[in-house]
């Protein structure tokens, strides 16, 4: 099992929002779409899974490791080695070229080294994402869709066993949405990774192995 959560509880300080999930699991190699209305806790759940947030109670087990019991620095290292994050707003650094942005996980990590193999993978991914011609450009020179594809390449470049994508198609036109999802699921399948993606677009749902409604997950408190 790639992800397993039990009795997960989280409350933002000074806010009434509460997320309580009794159990939630994702199998290895499985692709899951997380859906639900705005504010239902999709992003919060994803941040709990990636270790960006710590739960008030319960356990988050990713790839056999209890993430919420790791100290902060270890959690950062674990995230770098295990999870490929694809945020909604790209989170590209404007002073780096697209190539440098894709390779940035190797720059900030003490465990990942920038090898020729990773650089070659960067080129391959960019080729498949259709942004190979833009590798030496800066983010502001690219369209929204191209930037999102660059962010996706960054999430994939280290070949992580788990991909977490927070609404990566939110700001894109249908053509770009299709490209992103194809790339995400195709690459996940190629490297045998599990993929969890938040989306609002019902057109994309049939492409996933499973669709989980976060509201139902919270109400029923059961595994989907």
């Amino acid at each position: 099992m790639m992800i397993h959560c039990e009795n997960l509880r989280f409350t933002y300080p000074a806010e009434s929002f509460q997320l309580a999930i009794e159990a939630f699991s994702v199998e290895k190699g499985e692709s899951v779409a997380l859906i639900g209305p705005s504010g239902c806790g999709k992003t919060t759940l994803m941040n709990l899974l990636s270790g960006i947030l710590s739960p008030d109670g319960g356990q988050v087990i990713v790839n056999g490791v209890v993430v919420n019991e790791l100290p902060m620095a270890a959690r950062q290292r674990f995230r770098l080695g295990t999870i490929g994050l694809v945020p909604q707003n790209f989170e590209l650094l404007d002073y780096l070229t697209i190539r440098e942005n894709i390779l940035v996980p190797c720059r900030v990590s003490s465990q990942l080294r920038l090898t020729g193999e990773i650089e070659a993978r960067c080129g391959d991914l960019a080729e498949r994402a259709g942004i190979a011609a833009h590798l030496d450009k800066f983010p502001r020179q690219l369209s929204q869709g191209e930037r999102q594809r660059a962010a996706l390449c960054r999430g994939l470049v280290t070949s992580p066993p788990l991909l977490l994508a927070d609404e990566p198609t939110g700001n894109l036109d249908p053509e770009n949405q299709d490209k992103i999802v194809s790339l995400l699921l195709g690459e996940a399948a190629r490297i045998g990774a599990s993929a969890l993606m938040i989306t609002h677009d019902p057109v994309l749902l049939p492409r996933f192995d499973r669709v989980v409604e976060v509201m139902k997950l919270r109400q029923k408190g059961g595994a989907a």
């Binding site: 770098l80 990590s109 003490s110």
Partner: protein
């Protein structure tokens, strides 16, 4: 922490924000460079002025500003200092208490001071002729090493004195002088001067001159009756004044009036011992219309003032420096607040706190280090051009 990654990200950020980086480096450079540069220039000026002043026991001049007298007599600036007649210089020599070297530093050629003096001056300053020979005749000059280098002069070339009053027909005319020697460099104001004999300096002033012989008129050209046997000469505008002294016309140069009335701007007094020095000082303390100054004492007084001004300026610079550093720190802090998203992104990607702190420290350290290096280069530059700055300051 990935040190290479930190360096890479830090350099990329600074490179992409090079305008901000350069502005910060420039601001910090000025903070370091201004006080250090002022200190360096003041120290160099002080050492140059003091060395020269310390080697000149006493200076005699017309009453007035003692500092102007010192600057004229030993640095050859302040050409408008009041003059004293040569008679006063001779009077000191006649006492037998000291050797005396007259200085007449009033005119210039191509921006270099023409210093009228005697051959004793070269011995006193231990100046060596590197090329050519010393002064022998009227109209000859020996140029300082810098003058020769800057103007490409060598023995046999000529320099022309700068006319003082272009539209005054009775004023100072330019005199073409032959360079007979070039002095060896001495790292002193002598390098910047053109030395001539005192009489040549007076010829530049128009006190001595040479012209065509007046022509005798024959009896048939006389238009008025004269006493038989008297001679009549033609003295009109066609009488040619020489503007160059050559072996052919040197004999025709002459001075009108009493030479002891002719001016000098200063006289270097060289008493052989402290006793004679005290005697001369005593004699000139109450001398009406003249002043006898000790250049070293004048420099002490000057630098006491300079240092108090320098302290004031450095205090101001310190305040400005603190303000600049504070503004620089504020720029960094604001920049980090603006970059909160970036740091959050990096943390999401797995950067630990140590990596982010190292990134911030590297960027700030780079700016400070770059400004220190730029200051070092600036100091080296100031060190190199200090003689030019000092020359310009001395006027």
């Amino acid at each position: 922490m990935n040190t290479r990654g930190v360096l890479f990200l830090g350099l990329r950020y600074l490179q992409r924000n090079r305008a901000k980086t350069l502005l910060l480096v420039a601001a910090f450079t000025l903070v370091w460079l201004l006080p250090a540069g002022i200190g360096l220039i003041v120290a160099k000026v002080e050492s140059q002025l003091r060395a020269r002043a310390g080697g000149t026991p006493l200076l005699l001049g017309q009453a007035g500003s003692p500092l102007e007298l010192v600057f004229n007599g030993i640095y050859f600036t302040k050409p408008q200092v009041a003059t004293l007649p040569l008679r006063e210089v001779d009077a000191v020599a006649e006492t037998g208490l000291a050797d005396v070297i007259p200085i007449y530093a009033r005119y210039a050629a191509g921006g270099h001071r023409i210093v009228g003096t005697t051959l004793d001056y070269f011995d006193f300053r231990q100046l060596e002729i590197a090329v050519g020979r010393n002064l022998l005749r009227l109209g000859e000059c020996v140029v300082g090493a810098s003058v020769a280098e800057r103007n490409g002069l060598k023995a046999g070339d000529a320099v022309i004195s700068t006319p003082e009053t272009l539209f005054d027909l009775a004023g100072v005319y330019p005199l073409k002088m032959t360079v007979v020697g070039v002095l060896a460099p001495s790292a002193s104001p002598d390098d910047e001067a053109i030395f001539v004999d005192l009489k040549t300096a007076w010829i530049i002033e128009g006190l001595g001159h040479g012209h065509d012989e007046a022509e005798d008129l024959g009896e048939e050209e006389k238009i008025a009756p004269t006493i038989p046997g008297d001679t009549a000469v033609r003295l009109n505008a066609s009488v040619l004044e020489y503007n160059e002294i050559t072996p052919g016309n040197a004999e025709r140069f002459h001075f009108h009036g009493d030479v002891s009335d002719y001016p000098v701007t200063a006289a270097i007094i060289l008493p052989p011992d402290a006793r004679n020095q005290a005697l001369i000082k005593g004699r000139y303390t109450k001398a009406g219309g003249l002043q006898l100054v000790s250049p070293a004492a004048e420099m002490d007084e000057l630098f006491a003032t300079v240092f108090s001004v320098q302290r004031f300026v450095l205090t101001l610079l310190l305040a400005i420096g603190i303000a600049t550093v504070a503004i620089g720190a504020l720029v960094f802090l604001l920049s980090y607040r603006l970059r909160e998203d970036e740091f959050r992104h990096l943390r999401h990607l797995g950067a630990d706190l140590a990596t982010l702190r190292a990134l911030v420290a590297f960027e700030a350290g780079f700016v400070i280090l770059a400004s220190l290096i730029a200051s070092g280069i600036g100091m080296a530059l100031i060190h190199t051009i200090a003689p030019v700055i000092i020359r310009e300051m001395m006027g």
